[in-house]
Symmetry: C2
Subunit: 274 residues, 2 copies
DNA sequence: TGAATAGTGTCTGTGAGACAATATTAT
DNA sequence: ATAATATTGTCTCACAGACACTATTCA
């Protein structure tokens, strides 16, 4: 092995092709909340979580749905910049909450070659979205936890329905980390089923000690709407008085009211930092 | 652009060198607890967190200390397998708690070429370590949070002392995520200062709702020792009765006692799952 | 008027924080 | 005997869970 006198000399002689190399992508789990209208004029609309998927135009997985993503340009951008570039392309927005989720790296996760993917969770208020990409579509999420650590997820955009099951295996020496294995998946490309589950769990775990939920809310909202978002993320009903106590210091009253339901109008609130 | 009839045909024709590629490494933040003996025969030894560093034999950063790590072999292994391989090399142990921490990817983080690093936190009881690698050494950690989101960290192995400061900037639209910037760092290679801080914060955040701490404890321990480990991780004193209440359901009494301190002997406990 | 949601009051139980008190060892 | 740690008892306060109750709208 050649001996170098200093780091500069070493770097000038360095051969980047000495080792086998690989490709990386950023994949984005863009989540939001959708309103499901109810026919009964008295009832309020139901909330659901929704995820943005894009239809693949090319091989591999041509014609299947997948999370928006793109290859990292190793010479010029970080993974987060790459994620922002993809988000801009798909939503035409630049100012979106973004958080690194997990790096998925199964050797065979991409049939072309070794591709490691760093996934990001992004949260947005749908009202901000005016022109999403023509190949993209919002899918409403239904998540059912079965008794035996199987999670059954259905995604629906009104036209296509995507269903898959993921089995969770508690990791050795851990009480909170699971390995995911995709049990059944016909319609979602790559390992994106895992990304979706990991992201939903991340949001669920963080909702109570952060303010992330407000990234999915419009500027003005009722406490009933906010509570519904909490409920759909946590997957359980909350008691009204308890919820209002907990949320009180995160919101600020306004003098606006929301009327028009067949019931008592409700006050509009806005997010209060700190 | 050529049109393919099916995925098989597409894959056979796929050119892996069409896009610029990059290298990846797994870097491991191996943490443990060390006992600092006190001269006074009555006093118990103090606990500190410690981290395993290795001295770089080659350029870049030749002669500096860094976290153990290694290049990913893209053809055969996952990042976690790579991390385990490095851990085996440095500690000769295979069964170590391991958890993916964060993927660090600044464009210029490695002077050779674009290298993205996925870091892992590993926790171990030092009593399990019989032969660590000759180029590796345990450094005791002193962490001081200054008022202005600067964190001052000192690492000491009895011979060398490494000090650096990291500035934390709250991320936009977030209440819990920070960007780290290395303010001052002479002795630690790469961006490993960030990895150390991120890992220590991860452990601190998880200690109260997981059982990770027991991965750093010997089989039998006193509640005083366990409390000290909590205190050093959390960076604050805890009240004895409160700690015992909280920890009670995670530990199991044994009939062993620890004697020999200049004071009342204390019962030895062991970890109780679930 | 009544269905539906908005919003408040209050009781209770749990559990953490705080502090006091007792127990037991080696020198 | 004493310094030091081990261990337990108990009071209080904050707060979430639970449930009851009142308020207000629109077809």
């Amino acid at each position: 092995m050649k001996e170098y006198k200093n780091e500069k000399e070493f770097l000038e002689d360095y051969d980047v092709n000495e080792f086998e190399r690989l490709s990386m992508t950023s994949d984005i789990l863009l989540l939001s909340v959708s309103d499901i209208k109810i026919s009964n004029y008295r009832k309020t609309s139901k909330k659901m979580m929704s995820v943005l998927l894009v239809k693949r135009r090319d091989f591999p997985y041509k014609g299947k749905w997948c999370l928006p993503g793109g290859f990292l340009d190793p010479l010029s951008e970080t993974l987060e910049e790459c994620a922002k570039r993809v988000l801009k392309r798909e939503t035409n927005l630049s100012n979106i909450y973004l958080e690194q989720l997990f790096t998925f790296d199964d050797v065979k996760r991409d049939p072309r070659t070794r591709v490691v993917s760093t996934s990001y969770v992004a949260l947005v208020d749908k009202n901000r979205l005016t022109d999403i990409s023509s190949d993209a579509s919002w899918f409403d999420i239904t998540l059912i936890e079965e008794k035996d650590d199987d999670v059954f997820i259905t995604l629906d955009n009104g036209v296509d329905t995507i269903s898959f099951t993921i089995h969770k295996t508690l990791r050795k020496m851990s009480t909170d980390r699971y390995d995911f294995s995709i049990v059944d998946n016909k319609d979602l490309a790559f390992d994106h089923a895992k990304v979706i589950l990991a992201g939903l769990e991340r949001i669920r775990n963080k909702i109570n000690y952060t303010d992330i939920v407000f990234n999915m809310m419009p500027k003005y909202f009722t406490l009933g709407e906010l509570q519904q978002v909490y409920e759909v993320i946590l997957g359980k009903k909350l008691l009204d008085p308890a919820f209002r106590r907990i949320i009180a210091h995160k919101v600020e009253q306004t003098d606006k009211m929301q009327t028009g339901g067949g019931h008592r109008p409700s006050r509009l609130f806005k997010y209060k930092k700190n």
